[in-house]
Subunit: 305 residues, 2 copies
Amino acid sequence: MRLLIVGSVAIDSVETPFGKAEKALGGSATYASVAASYFTSTGIVAVVGCDFDRRHINLLKRKRIDLEGLQIDSSGKTFFWSGYYEGDMNVAHTRMTDLNVFESFNPVIPKSYRDTPFILLENIHPALQLDVLSQVENPRLVMCDTMNYWIKSEPELLEKVFRKVDVICINEDEARLFCNTPSLPAAASQLLKLGPNYIIIKKGIHGVVLFGKKSFFALPSIPLLKVKDPTGAGDTFAGGTIGYIAKSNRLNEDLLRRALVAGTVMASYCVEDFSCRRTARLKPEEISDRAKQLREYSRIPAFRM
Amino acid sequence: MRLLIVGSVAIDSVETPFGKAEKALGGSATYASVAASYFTSTGIVAVVGCDFDRRHINLLKRKRIDLEGLQIDSSGKTFFWSGYYEGDMNVAHTRMTDLNVFESFNPVIPKSYRDTPFILLENIHPALQLDVLSQVENPRLVMCDTMNYWIKSEPELLEKVFRKVDVICINEDEARLFCNTPSLPAAASQLLKLGPNYIIIKKGIHGVVLFGKKSFFALPSIPLLKVKDPTGAGDTFAGGTIGYIAKSNRLNEDLLRRALVAGTVMASYCVEDFSCRRTARLKPEEISDRAKQLREYSRIPAFRM
């Protein structure tokens, strides 16, 4: 197995101006692993409850996602989130969050996962992210995500996580909040000083930017006339990105740029339908066609004064 | 003369977290013409009052900007704006606006300007933009800008302007407001249906996007650790872009992409200092160096699944 993803598997009920989905498969580890599965062998560590539908297990299995690390906690129900989006769908409005078995989630890394070379730490308590890192053996690359909640409540622990990872992948508002500056280049520069080699900043419809110690790369999002549900786009992006990185043995910036293209393409498919309905049934050509499109969208002809 | 710019010449007092400038040269036609002057022969039609400082005239003359169309209205003072920026400097807060002689501005196009092939209609009353178009003879390309104020107060007149131009160049919020949709692709598609061949949407630090009838191009902004004053960045961008277009005889999308690079580079220099201090004293190498940088920032290596 090349890639280990630790995060949540959840049941979501989502409503947008374009429809709704009741009790659909959700969670950061779900979105990320489905996206990564197109590029590399992937396993997840997460927890679900006694109510978790067999159909969801079957979907993950069909994507050849290793489920040895998926704990089934029969003492309770699966993490449930219900919410809705309005207008430009930039903000998720929460109707209800029931952490259920996710509240006491203790990520135990199976023995067979411990030497996985690539690791994606999705948004969970930073103490658990550190705990995961203490259980694995010399990974080649670790990428982490987080959320506003941990930045506000556990900034010191989160800084410890940031100091131990190779790539931080967060939203622009989270970067600004953690670094207490309105400027993204200033925030990225602060984060790089903690140790990571790369900072990926997710900007929704404005695409992503990659800050390296001495480099910068900007990638637009794919313009879509039809966005049905933005839930999971960020996790799908992260999963697609590290999945693409994990399939290669040579880590360099060109690989990273291609990986961000893969992540962006996967995210663009994610928002075209609810849950991971669209990303779970993609053909490889659909991915490479949109990657080509994206390359043409960003193409700058040689400049002459 | 290849390019005619119609807009405002103003006196600005601006304060930002990084300093302030009192009674500095400002106005949309000023910023745009200084940027365009690096690429093509440019003239402006605008109005100033009896108080307009000789030093400002000299600066514009040094940039070889044709001032035959600059009216001096001795009955009043020059358009004055005073404002400040805070935090991420995304929003200009107005302290005072004195329209002065700009209130009764009547753009008279000098005879020698009437066959100018390229025209930039900066943000003025749409009735005046239409009046300018009735005075010129078969221009090859007309680009227009506007602002929220006219979108709200004169939407029908503004639509008439949009129906007569080749390129609309506006902010993302203005596009959303005029088209009454949160989606930029949807807004661009509506605007293209009015007749223009291209819609340029300015997104500040997120760069610009270009929508054509069958094409799309996205260009990031240059990441800057030091932004001193964002005033005039959008006008500088528009001036640099159409200035670059005007120097060429072949209009195609690759030219437009290069032109957007020129505009983006000029805007990145604009914000490094107050007024047009930085853009007025650039060397051509400084422009082409940053254009090369931008090309590397956007470079996507060929994608392989």
